[in-house]
Chain length 493, copies 2
């Protein structure tokens, strides 16, 4: 929100027309090039000149090919949005490759409104700003093109327009009866905007545009959009990509006593107890507005499905969704890799279970080379940030790695081959994957070290004995969830 | 909900195991075949044996490949769902080609709940049931495979289980503290269920399954799912496909005085007045909870974009979305053709503007042969039903056809070719399309006759003079919207 420009000179009508016509050709041509690129464009349009923002949106619709532009206006969050982490609404609106999104009001004027109308607790604000710069960072690293326009009106200018408006309430076409509101908001929000300005650690700077002359405003913003479209998308700060990555210092998998086992009779008794207790814990979570998010990873044939079913047996089908994660669809490939996980995040109080997760980025995509080194290396930080956001929004993130050894896996593959009804599960690729066992081991150890955060640590579970693994997961889940619920209830008081 | 089966015999454990193992192989194989088919599967699971439904869902997750199954539970609508037409929630959950959706509670138990808890006005119920059979009809005609399972528990059976539950509240794993609720619901909902049973004009019959023996239940339902998967998807009642279609009896386009025009000075004055009035009308719509849905169709180069921009200039960008409709994406092709329009339907009180619409089905898809004859012929009825649902949900559907003649179009094409910045808009295909002018004319006349319903009539607008068309659209829009708002406010009192 720095003023990097002087109040601009007025443009003559003829000059405006000349500039506009040239711009329109270039904008449309640039849009056509964008269609085939592996990137998308996000234009944030905010500022205190809200009438100006709306006028510009209308001009833009005339100048570009609207078939490839999504315009979204962000104001106070809806009830649905309030039931999700704050960044969820932006993820829902992300443009896919080849498209332009115009986010009007985002992600600062809506925040100003939230602060100004006291929808945000004092202590929460800094976190929200942190999340925003995290989001910007992530978009930049994903080669998304982002432009942030801050359209400025001086108080004098707004005052003059208000006077004109009061004389003739129909003079401001867009704003209508909101003009009084906007002026008051301007007065009240200045301290908030100043405060945000000082707190903000933008990855992408707001570009200050003077709104006093409409023609100059239109040309200036359109030129910046064109420059963005024509630019090569490059990470602004590539060095931070590997900020977090370094190989693990310990062999975490090696420390798991993979053959831990349990007697069948004890198993049955413990399972029954755990399922009943889990039932109550899940109800308690619901009542506390806690959203359990269970993430299961593990070697092929480690028994994830069996564990998940023992858990879902304790939860009403009204309350949970189980989401199996396979290779991304062509449609999903057109977004940031976290997009397809964000879209599953449920309303507060529901249970979400992932059979395989976003950790595919640092496991299969790393080992098989589907993600570039720089991509999977920066994923650790992005994932930690993602999970921290979930935890902040009262989601209890519980991550389990089911660990078997290579012999046990071979035994299970052979068993499955002989059992007709599971035969489909084993392909040549499954056997081929075994050749990369050590690569996967390294990847798992790195993952455990780099993403075992305080708020969402990994739980490594010995799974050569399926029954042992089931009990271990359920008891850990109950224990951790109960602590989380306790904290949530406590902090609410 | 007819009882088409006797209380079933109990299955021995051994027999169950034998049947289950054979079923599992077949289910998974059938799922694999489904993946390549141009259809999807919807399984409705409802009934008064809710604990049984939940148990079966868990069994099913064990027996199928869950990667291609989406299980959704429908209970009372969320706040977000309440802000949309009642069928919207089902459209949001529709499975794409190759996938299975399990809708638990839909679309009858959630309705029972709504009635029972008086969330539905008495008079609204019949309409809702009509919509449901409309939806079933539409799914059947689209070759979707739909199975409706009504899982039955006798009152005695539920009573016994309740007694057991009261003795030991942990005995019912899934239902937990809801068991008392379910029993009471059973008692209270019988009259509602009976009533619905009499009112229902199901396109697809509910299959009554006795829930008293868990093993028999599991096998019975799974067998029916398998039979559905292995069946050829065929419209159950193909004759109804052309129920509504017959060629138009009048030449509606011919009656439009295409050269109607307006003086520039008068235009400017009228535009200003109309924009101001529209501003107030749109605010009134918002306050009344009315959702204006504007649908624009017309010949290429008829000036839709220009009209739309004159309208959006009067609406705050917070309040509207303009959605340009192009050819469906590969992803969109995997659903019923109305799906991509349903997904745009906004919350109550917002404004939605379509630049081209669902009428593509009976225009370009008909003329170019992208839709089969039987498909576009039944689309008239599906579209009327779709729009009636919108109107019922307080959406004011306003449809405009912008009419120019072939000479005017050619003139505009030539103009565009000479104007560099719009050149991209004219392709050889545009000229080729002109050869089918008469086919399109017939299609438009059929469309106007068959879809000009009382609640959503067509407005044909002379557009050889762009300015005339703009004023005509805006004045019609204002007039119709004001009448609609008046009615909405009145009916609310």
């Amino acid at each position: 929100m720095k003023r990097d420009a002087q109040q601009t000179a007025k443009l003559s009508k003829a000059e405006y027309k000349r500039l506009a016509e040239a711009l329109r050709v270039k904008l449309v041509n640039a849009q056509y090039d964008l269609k085939d690129e592996n990137t998308s464009v996000i234009i944030l349009l905010a500022g205190n000149d809200l009438p100006g923002c709306e006028e510009f949106i209308d001009v833009l619709q005339e100048w570009v090919d609207v078939r490839y532009v999504d315009t979204r206006a962000f104001r106070l969050p809806t009830e649905e949005e309030q039931q999700h982490p704050p960044m969820w609404r932006y993820w829902q609106a992300m443009p896919r490759n080849g498209r332009i999104a115009v986010f009007y009001g985002a992600w600062i004027m809506n925040l100003v409104l939230e602060v100004e109308q006291k929808k945000i607790a004092e202590g929460e604000l800094e976190k929200r700003l942190l999340r925003l710069s995290g989001l910007e960072n992530l978009l930049l690293h994903d080669n998304r093109k982002v432009l942030k326009i801050w359209l400025h009106a001086s108080e004098d200018d707004l005052k003059k327009r208000l006077k004109k408006y009061r004389k003739n309430p129909d003079s401001e076409l867009y704003v209508g009866q909101n003009f009084e509101f906007i002026y008051k908001l301007y007065k009240r929000s200045q301290p908030v905007i100043e405060k945000l300005h000082h707190l903000l650690n933008d990855e992408i700077a707001w570009q200050w545009v003077d709104g006093s002359d409409k023609r100059t405003r239109n040309i200036t913003i359109a030129q910046r959009i064109l420059a963005l479209l024509e630019s090569d998308a490059k990470p602004a700060n590539a060095s931070s990509a590997t900020k977090l990555f370094r190989p693990a210092r310990q062999n975490y998998l090696g420390k798991v006593d993979v053959n831990s086992n349990i007697e069948n009779k004890v198993y049955k008794e413990k399972l029954k107890q755990a399922q009943l207790r889990l039932k109550h814990t899940m109800l308690a979570a619901k009542n506390a507005g806690v959203t359990p998010i269970l993430a299961f990873e593990g070697w092929d044939a480690a028994g994830k499905g069996g564990v998940i079913r023992r858990i879902t047996q304790s939860i009403s089908a009204w309350s949970y969704r189980a989401v199996p994660i396979a290779a991304p669809t062509p449609e999903e490939m057109k977004y940031h890799y976290l997009w397809r996980f964000w879209k599953h995040i449920p309303r507060a109080g529901k249970v979400l279970i992932f059979d395989r997760t976003w950790y595919g980025r640092v496991l299969v995509e790393r080992v098989e080379g589907f993600a570039k080194e720089v991509e999977w290396q920066r994923a650790y930080e992005e994932i930690n940030d993602f999970e921290a956001q979930l935890v902040d929004a009262n989601c209890c993130v519980l991550k389990f790695w089911l660990h078997i050894d290579a012999e046990e896996q071979m035994k299970r593959f052979k068993q499955r081959e002989q059992t007709e009804y599971k035969k489909y599960k084993i392909t040549e690729e499954d056997y081929r994957n075994r050749e990369k066992w050590q690569d996967y081991e390294s990847a798992v150890n790195d993952m455990v070290e780099l993403t075992s955060t305080k708020v969402a640590p990994w739980h490594l579970v010995a799974a050569n004995d399926k029954r042992f693994a089931r009990i271990e997961v359920m008891e850990t889940l109950i224990r951790e969830l109960e602590v989380f619920i306790e904290k949530a209830v406590h902090s609410r008081r």
